[in-house]
Subunit: 537 residues, 2 copies
Amino acid sequence: MRPVDLEDRRDLITCGAAAGVAAAFRAPVGGVLFALEEVASWWRSALLWRTFFTTAVVAVTLRAFIQFCSTGTCGMFGEGGLIMYDVSSANVMYSASDILAVLLLGILGGIFGGLYNYGVDKVVRTYSIINERGASFKVLLVMLVSLLTSCCCFGLPWLVTCTACPSNSTESCSADSESDNYKSFQCGSGYYNDLATLLLNTNDDAIRNLFSSSTTKEFHISSLFIYFLAIYFLGIITYGIAIPSGLFIPVILAGAAYGRLVGRLFESISQLDTGLFSLLGAASLLGGTMRMTVSLCIILLELTNDLLLLPLVMLVLLISKTVADNFNKGVYDLIIIIKGLPYMEAHAESYMKHLVAVDVVSGPLVTFSGFEKVRNILYTLRTTGHNGFPVIDHPPLSDSSVLCGLVLRSHLLVLLKAKVFLTDNINSEGETLAKISALDFAKAGSGKGVKLENLDIDDEEMEMYVDLHPITNASPYTVVETMSLAKAAVLFRQLGLRHMCVVPKSQERPPIVGILTRHDLMPEHILGLLPDLNLHK
Amino acid sequence: MRPVDLEDRRDLITCGAAAGVAAAFRAPVGGVLFALEEVASWWRSALLWRTFFTTAVVAVTLRAFIQFCSTGTCGMFGEGGLIMYDVSSANVMYSASDILAVLLLGILGGIFGGLYNYGVDKVVRTYSIINERGASFKVLLVMLVSLLTSCCCFGLPWLVTCTACPSNSTESCSADSESDNYKSFQCGSGYYNDLATLLLNTNDDAIRNLFSSSTTKEFHISSLFIYFLAIYFLGIITYGIAIPSGLFIPVILAGAAYGRLVGRLFESISQLDTGLFSLLGAASLLGGTMRMTVSLCIILLELTNDLLLLPLVMLVLLISKTVADNFNKGVYDLIIIIKGLPYMEAHAESYMKHLVAVDVVSGPLVTFSGFEKVRNILYTLRTTGHNGFPVIDHPPLSDSSVLCGLVLRSHLLVLLKAKVFLTDNINSEGETLAKISALDFAKAGSGKGVKLENLDIDDEEMEMYVDLHPITNASPYTVVETMSLAKAAVLFRQLGLRHMCVVPKSQERPPIVGILTRHDLMPEHILGLLPDLNLHK
C-alpha cells in the first residue's frame, strides 16, 4: 500500500464529511456537494470522484440495511426508507402571488438566519469560557440546558387548548397509546394537543408532521408560533454545550414551523399548500444560517423527493443567503473563527492588495546549511516551534549562497532517529539514502512519527554532521518579496500550501527573506503586525 | 459597470455552459454540476454561487414558459413539463441477483462507451480532413450522412414483423393518424411496427417509450437489438459533420435501447422492471462515454424524477466509468485533443517530475527596459507573436538588473495608441497615468482593443520613449528555474495563469530566464523539445 501523505489525509477527511452527510440525510449526492461547498478548501477533480465513490458505497450500504431492517428488527433505524420526508404527492402549481409570498418567506428567512448565527456566535463564545473552567462547569451547563429544554417541552403544551381529532386521519388519535403521532397530553379522548404533538414526538416525526400537506388545519397558528420560538431559542442555546448536538435538525425544525406559520397566514391569498410552505421555510432558514446553495438544494431534494419544487427552493435559497450575507458570515465560518482555526478565505482581503509579501514575514528566520551539525539541529528543534526550515548551501559548496530547498521538522526527526550521521561535511548522498527508506518518512507525515524527547544522541554524535540534501524539498513554492500579498495569499490557498518561501528581489543578499505559513496570512496576524491598516479601511 | 476582465469572462463561459445544460435537460442542479465537473478547469467557490444563480434563473424562466405553453400554443415546447421522462411511478425493489445484472450492465456499458469514444475519435479526425477541403465537401458529407440516416429509419423497419396493438393501451394504435405514438408502417389496422415506433418517433418520445415500465412486451428483443446497433453507429458517424449535432441524446437513446435489451434478456432471473433497466443502460453508456459521475447522476435524476433509483444509478456510473477509463479518455477530452486546444490536465504527467521548469523554456526571450524606445516596441510586436513581455530595469535605474514585472501586448498597444511618449528616458509616472484611464485597458482585455496595423506613428515619435512602469504587472507569478516541472504545471493550472516567469536560481545572471505559457506545458511541446523522454516512459 502506498503511504498516506498529507494530500491523501485531506481527501480522506473530505470523504468522511461527505459520507456523514450522505448517511445522516440519506442524501448521497447532497453529501458530495456538502463536501465540495463547505468542507474542502482545496478542490481537485479527483476529489469529486473520490467523494462520489464514498457516498455511492454509503448509498448502497444504507439501502441494504434499510431493506434488512424494514421488518422492524433494528428499532427505529430505517424509518421512512431512503427518502425521509416524502412530499412528492403534493400538487405543485403556483402563480405570481405565490411567488411574492415565497419572496417574503426568503427575506424573513434570511433575517432569522442571520440572527440565529449571531445568537450561536455569542452563545458559543460564552459557553467556551464556562467550559474552560472545568469539567464540573461543563456538566452543570449541560444539566441547566437539559432542564430548560424539558421545561419547555412539558410546560408549553399547557398553554394551548385541545383540538378535536381529525375524522379522516388514518392514524389513531386516542389518549391510550404512547407511540401515537397525535399526543393527547392533558386532553380527553377524541382530542389532542397540537403543540405537544410537535414537541413530544421525535424530531423526525415532527418534521414529517410539519411538511405534511394533508394536515392543513391540524396545527393552530398560535401553536406554530410558540413552537417556532421555542425551537429557535433552544437550538441557539444548545449548540456548544458538552454533548454532541447538531445544527441541521434544529434549523430545519424551526424553519419548517416558521414556513408553516407563514403559509397559514397567507392562506387567503396563496394557493400553495402549507406543507410546501413549511419545506420552503426550512430551506430559507437553512440558507440563512448555513449559506450553502447547491448542496442544501440537493439535500432538501433528496430528503423530500419533490423535484417539481426545485425552482422555488432555489429561489428561496438565493434570497435568504443574499439577505443574510449582509449581516454576518455563515454559521460554520463563525465556528471556525471561534475555534481559532487558520481557515483561509478563497478571496484575499482587500487591504492585502496594498501590502507585499515581505510585510507580513515575522519572527527571526532560522535556516540550516546543506551539511548541518547535529547539535545545531537539535537545539533549533527544541527552541523553535517551526515545522519547516529553509536549507541554504553556502560557499565553498556553491559559488554563492543558494536556497537549496525546504526541510520539514518531521523528516529531520526521522533522520536523527536513524542516526544517519557523517563525521565530516562532505557529500555522501548514497550513504544517507541507503540507511533510510521512503516508508520511514511516510509515517512521519502521518503525524505519528518520532518525538523529539525520544531521541537519544550522545555527545560524540552531537558534533557530527547530517547531510540534509536527500530530505530537502528542492522545489518549494517561492514568491518574490515584492509580490502583492493578495496574490501570494491566493497562491497559498489555491495550492494548499503549508510553507511558502519569500525570496529577495535584488541580488547580493541572503537567498531567502522569510517563510510564510497559514498563520502569517490570517487577518488577525496581519492587523497585529500593521495596526495602522485599520485606519485605511 | 465594472469592466469585464479575464476572470469574469471565464466565469461567464462557465455560467453559460451551466445554463445550456439546465435548459436542455430541464436540470438546473445538473447544469451546475456539469459546469463544475466538465467545463471549469479552475474552480472557485464564488463560481459555484454564480452558476447556481444562473441556473436558478433558468429554472424559474423555464417553469414560467412551460406553464404558459401548456395549452399547446408554442408547438412542442414544454412537452413533458419540468421532468422530461417521469419514471417515478415504477416500483423499485431489488435483490442480490438484480445487483449482479446491474453490475454486468455497467461493465458492458463501459466497454460500449469506450468503443463509442474510439469511434467518435476516428470519425471526427477523418471528417476534419474532409471538411478542410472546402465547403462542397462539407455539404456532400452532410448529405451522405443524412441519406444513410434516412435509409436506416425507413429501411430497417421492413425487417421486423407486425405486432398486435396492446389492448390495455390508453393511446390510440390505428393506421390512420400520423401523430400517434404507435407507428403502423407497413402493418394493417390493429397492428403496429415496433422498430418504426422507435425510429420514426421524435427522440423524446423514443426515450419515453424505452424508459416506460408499462410497455414490457411492446418491443421485441430483435427490434431492440437492431435499434441499438443503428443508433449506436449513426451516433458515431453523425458527430463531427457540419451541422449541430449532440452527444447526449444519441448516447441516451443507444444506452436506453441497450439497457432494455439486457433487461429483456434477464427477464427470467431479475425482478427489476425493463424500463428501469433501460434507464440504467442509458446511465452506463453515458458514464462510459462522458466519464462524468455526479453531474450525470443529477441530470438523470432530474430527467426521470426517480430518487429511489439513485443507489443503482451511482453504482452503474462508477462501474462503467472505471471500466471505460482503462481504454481511453472521455469523449470531451478526446475532442479537445483533436481541436488542439491547450487544455491542461489537473494532474501533471509523471515524466514532468523528472524535469525542471527551465527544461521546457523555448525560443529566444524578448524583454523590454523600464523605459523603452517606441521603435523597439513596435518592431518586437510586429516580429513576435508573444502576448507577455518581461520588463527589466537596468542600471543606473537600479543597482543591478531587476525584473520589474510583466507587460501585456494589449496594454502596450493601448499605450502606443494614446501616444504617451517621452522625449527622454526619465521617470514621469504622473504624466503617463494622466493621459490614460483604467477603462482603456478594460477594453483591451476584452480582446477588442487596438490593432497593431491601426497604429499611426511617425518617424519622430519612433525615436521617443515609453514609460512601461505604470502598465507593468509588478507581481507576476514566478518559479525558480530548478523548480520541478510537475509543481510548476500544478501552479500554472491551479491559478489559471497565462504567463509564468522563470527566474534564475543563482545570482550574477540576468533576472529572468524565460517565460512559460500554456503551450509550453503541453505534452506535445515537451516531447517535441525532449524526444528522449518517450524512451523513459
